[in-house]
C-alpha cells in the first residue's frame, strides 16, 4: 500500500512537471506590450521641435478625445512607409489628434522629412536622447500609442502602422 502511495506521488510529480514545461513552452515568450493596455501615461512634458519655449504636457492631451502618439525619425525607413496612413488619419478623421515625437534625430533632417512627406501631426515634440520614449514604454521605432482623453492606453502599435492597423484605429475610435 505504501509503495503505491510512493508511486502515485512520483507519477503525479512527473505529470505536474510535464504540464508546467508544456505550458511554459506553449506560451509566447516574445516580449509584447499587450499587458500595458489599460495603463495610464503621466508625468511628461514634450518640447516642440522648432521652439524650446513651446511645450505640451498631459493636460493638453486630455483635451483631445483620442490621441495617437507616434515616435518617428528621418533615419527610420519603416517610418516612411507608415506616414501615408498617419496623413490619412489626420486628414479624414477629426476625432483623433496625432502627436509626433521625433526620436534621436537631427532637427533639420526631421523637418525635411515632414516637408517631403507631409505633416500629419498637430504637435511635433523632440526626444533627442530618447528618454521620453521610456515614459511611453517604447523600445524601437516606429511605435505608436493610442490613448483616450483619460490618457489610458487603448492600444500600442509596435512597428509601422499598415492598412490593417489603420482600420483598427478607425474602429477603436468610432
Amino acid at each position: 500500500m505504501k509503495i503505491s502511495i510512493l508511486k502515485v506521488l512520483i507519477f503525479s510529480f512527473i505529470i505536474f512537471f510535464l504540464l508546467v514545461f508544456w505550458l511554459g513552452l506553449k506560451k509566447d515568450n516574445n516580449y509584447n506590450t499587450r499587458s500595458l493596455v489599460g495603463n495610464r501615461i503621466s508625468n511628461f512634458q514634450l518640447i516642440e521641435i522648432n521652439n524650446d519655449k513651446k511645450y505640451i504636457s498631459e493636460e493638453d492631451l486630455k483635451k483631445n478625445r483620442y490621441t495617437l502618439i507616434n515616435f518617428f525619425a528621418s533615419w527610420c525607413a519603416p517610418c516612411r512607409n507608415e506616414h501615408k496612413y498617419l496623413m490619412n488619419l489626420s486628414n479624414e478623421n477629426k476625432k483623433i489628434k496625432i502627436i509626433g515625437i521625433n526620436f534621436k534625430d537631427k532637427k533639420n533632417n526631421a523637418l525635411n522629412f515632414l516637408e517631403e512627406l507631409g505633416n500629419p501631426f498637430s504637435f511635433v515634440g523632440k526626444d533627442s536622447e530618447g528618454k521620453i520614449s521610456i515614459l511611453f514604454g517604447i523600445y524601437g521605432i516606429p511605435e505608436s500609442v493610442l490613448v483616450d482623453s483619460d490618457l489610458t492606453i487603448i492600444k500600442k502599435f509596435v512597428g509601422p502602422i499598415d492598412q490593417v492597423q489603420y482600420h483598427q484605429i478607425l474602429k477603436l475610435i468610432q
Partner: protein
Amino acid sequence: MKIKIFLFIFYILFSIDAYSFENKNKLLEIYKNLRCLVCQGQSIADSNSDFAVTIKLVVQDQFNEGKTEEEIYKFLTSKYGEWIVYQPTFNVNNFLLWTLPYVVLIFGGFIIFLVVRKTKHNKVN
C-alpha cells in the same frame, strides 16, 4: 602645515573617488538586473544597443535624483511590464516560479523519507 593640507586634499579626493566608485557599482548592479528587450539574452549592462543606452541614461537620472533601486524597477516595470526585470516581484502570475523550488524540496524530502522508512522496514522484516 603643508603635510596637513596635503593629507586633507588627499582625503577629499579619495572620498570623492570612493563615492563615485560605489555609485558606479550600484548602477552596474541595477543594469545587470534589467533585461535588454531588443537583444538576445543580454542584460542592459551587457548591451550597447540604442535601447540599452537609453535605459542606462534614465536609470542614471533616477539614481541621481535619489530614487531607490526598487523605485527604479517599479518605474520600468510600469512602462515595460515584469519582463524587463530579471528578478520579478512576487505576484499571482508568477507565484509558481517562487514557490515551486520549495514545494519540490518538501515533496522530495517526503519521498526520500518514505523510501528510507520502507527500506528500514524491509530490513527489519
